[in-house]
């Protein structure tokens, strides 16, 4: 079976879908791999490392795509790339299938079996393939590094002969995978960290990292069986805003990671709250790609609102492209490995499997995913 890995073309995407270490393991398992030249350059893996691992460097992108039975990549394919794909091949990547219906259609039309990495279920068994989590985790780290880098205050407390610097106050809104890692990283740097999330179970988790949970009584708030938050009612949103306002005004850094799976992110930090912060404060809006938690945040820009900088970069994992590539590549490896039959040397995406059912979007020319089928 031949795996093809093209270079990412998405603007600003520095990750790669396959790192040399995993390439080696796959080849040992019996795969053949062809990659486009420059595959890992942006994340620090030169071509030689791939060839050392046994990867063939294709002559051009077309060759890589057209010869592959299994295409691995980070981002959704360009329409042009879909043209090059072999009919019947499997294409694994983030796909955003809900919002990119036309892409799904053309993949189906081409006869490609498309696996969407965002749709990997959050089951115990699938954890090792859960790229959404692995990347969110790194994004959480990046938010804090970016905030520290833009914050005119240092994070830790210091008592020195030149005076005492109070620790910076960091407020993390949304303590899912990314939020928790943000909390941990900010704590490490010595900040005073507070956090809020609508899911009540999170309070204990926040405290388990040594941070303070801001108690805001919103009434009943549920979570889905995948562990995602349910959307708040408008009244609840108002309650939350009221509860947060004071904390935000006193914070030097606010990091928002509040997301709702499959819906636009809630708008929870208002312009008023932004202006209540001290000049020089930093807000990092991690949800900016899915609509933004913060009023005034602009994708891929730092907006200065009266001295407060709102950092709205998308694709945060790309900022630690090497680590992110390793993790993503591990997720893909685990996925391939899960369905690889070492004895028969067959790769078998059995339609009965839970994971396959959840993550495969198109197969044999049809859209097979229940959430898309009937649209």
């Amino acid at each position: 079976m031949r795996i093809g890995v093209p270079v990412e073309t998405w603007p600003g995407e520095l990750r790669t879908a396959l790192v040399p270490g995993n390439a080696k393991k796959l080849i040992r398992s019996g795969f053949e791999i062809i990659a486009e030249s420059g595959l890992g350059r942006a994340s620090g893996f030169p071509d030689e490392e791939y060839t050392d691992a046994g990867v063939t460097i294709g002559n051009d992108r077309g060759e890589v795509l057209s010869q592959a039975d299994l295409v691995l990549r980070v981002r959704q394919p360009e329409p042009a790339d879909i043209e090059s794909l072999k009919s019947g091949c499997v294409h694994v990547s983030f796909l955003d299938p809900m919002n990119r219906r036309e892409l799904v259609d053309s993949l189906a039309a081409r006869g490609v079996t498309a696996v969407s990495m965002e749709m990997i279920p959050r089951s115990t068994r699938a954890q090792k393939m859960d790229a959404l989590s692995s990347q969110a985790n790194l994004a959480g780290y990046v938010t804090v590094i970016a905030a520290a880098n833009h914050c005119p205050k240092i994070f830790p407390m210091m008592m020195t002969p030149s005076g005492t610097i109070r620790p910076a106050k960091v407020f993390v809104i949304g303590a899912g995978v990314a939020g928790l890692q943000a909390i941990a990283t900010a704590k490490r740097l010595g900040a005073r960290v507070e956090a809020f999330d609508t899911r009540p179970v999170v309070a204990e988790q926040v405290r388990s990292l040594g941070a303070k949970f801001v108690e805001i009584d919103l009434g009943e708030v549920g979570q889905t069986d995948q562990g995602y938050a349910k959307a708040l009612t408008p009244e609840q949103i108002e309650l939350q805003k009221a509860g947060q306002a004071k904390v935000i005004a006193e914070s030097d850094v606010v990091i928002t990671t509040a997301q709702l799976f499959g819906r636009p992110a809630p708008r929870i930090v208002t312009a008023e709250m932004v202006s209540s912060m001290q000049p020089g404060s930093v807000i990092v809006d991690m949800a900016v790609e899915s609509g933004g938690n913060v009023e005034g945040a602009v994708l891929n820009e730092i907006v200065d609102v009266g001295g407060v900088n709102i950092y709205g970069f998308g694709n945060l994992p790309s900022q630690v492209s090497r680590s992110a590539s390793e993790m993503y590549s591990n997720n893909l490896f685990n996925l391939i490995d899960e369905f690889w039959d070492a004895e028969t040397k067959q790769w078998n995406l059995s339609p009965d499997d839970e994971i396959v059912q959840a993550a495969v979007i198109t197969r044999d020319g049809n859209i097979v995913h229940p959430m898309l089928e009937d649209k």
């Binding site: 115990t124 928790l180 890692q181 490490r188 988790q205 990292l209």
Partner: protein
Amino acid sequence: MSEELIGAVYIVSAILFVFGLKLLGSPATAVRGNQLSTLGMLVAVVVTLGSTDIIDYRWIAIAAALGAVVGIVAAQRVAMTGMPEMVALFNGSGGLASLLVGWAALGMEGAEGDSQSAFTIITVLLSILIGGVTFSGSLVAWAKLSETMPSGAISFPGQQFVSLILLVATIGCGAAMLAQPDAGTAMLVYAVIALSVLLGVMAVIPIGGADMPVVISLLNSYSGLAACAAGLAINNTILIVAGALVGAAGIILTNIMCKAMNRSLSNVLFSGFTASKSAAKVEGEVKPISPDDAYLILEAASSVVMVPGYGMAVAQAQHVVRELGELLEEHGTEVSYAIHPVAGRMPGHMNVLLAEANVPYDQLIEMDDINRRIENVDVAIVIGANDVVNPAAREDENSPIYGMPIINVDQARTVFVLKRSMASGFSGVDNPLFFKENTRMLFGDAKQSISHMIAEFKG
């Protein structure tokens, strides 16, 4: 020498024994303790030889000389690994001596009036009984340890019943002797001796070789009691005091040793019987353990793996965990931290906490690596982890978490699970680990439990 003077010297000798025993309990002073106790013995023997009661030294000289030679040769020849057997033999020899002293004391009886003969007879019988049990029990222990006989537990149907009969018979003989102090005494004495020796054998054969050190310690306590009984029989204070001291100290030591093996004394003594009867019943039973007892087991372990989970984070126990790890390492134990990839509630949760607590990165081990060598781990300490050590993921196809790789702590020799209750973890699945034979539940907040153990280590 006057009786008062001898008594005074005996007091000195008893003081030396007290100090000796006390100092033997701590590594820094143990050598001196043994020396003091040796001195105590020497003083007691010398002053006894000066007693006006003794009119003929020949027998004493010969017997003592022979005994000393045998003792010296045996003590010097024995290999370091053979120590427990040797102690068993010495102990048996001491028990036999008490038996003989008691027996010989029967010859003394005529000399004084009949007035206290009941007391004497009872004490003589006690010294014969305890001495005999000590003697034969020690021999069996020796034989099992040295593999002169099969070291496993030997049992046959009705064994306990036979033991009971023997005991009743012994008591019967004793009663008979008391009833008619003169008639047929000799035969009754022989019977009691034979019965005691048999009793000793019956008591020890059903116990497995691995438990022998505890048995020897118990028999050692008995031999102290035998000496005490002999002392009562011949009215010798130093025998009474030293014997009682050793008897009591031996029981405490036996108890300590049982705890270090995570057993109760009755479990050691009678497990040979019960094992055959109820093997399957154990499932479903949870065995709690106290931090003190957990300490004793840890202290004897040579490799320990810490398996932290979300509970460690909740308890904020990372600092005490590291401290316990350091203490164990200073103690010569190999310590590592096995991190399950999904332990906690965020990726790298355990890493953050352990790094905060300054656990060296080299000691962090990945799941696959630890699973490869988990069988050789003496104690796995599960600190507030649950799902990630749940064997149902490996064994129970119907479990919601079936197929998730776990850290196989259940395959370590002993597992401590530190948690507050029997509650389930994140996945809400019950955990059969808690019911395994080699699992001990250490209930309570993880930080407090570990602090307790640390205190034991330091105290």
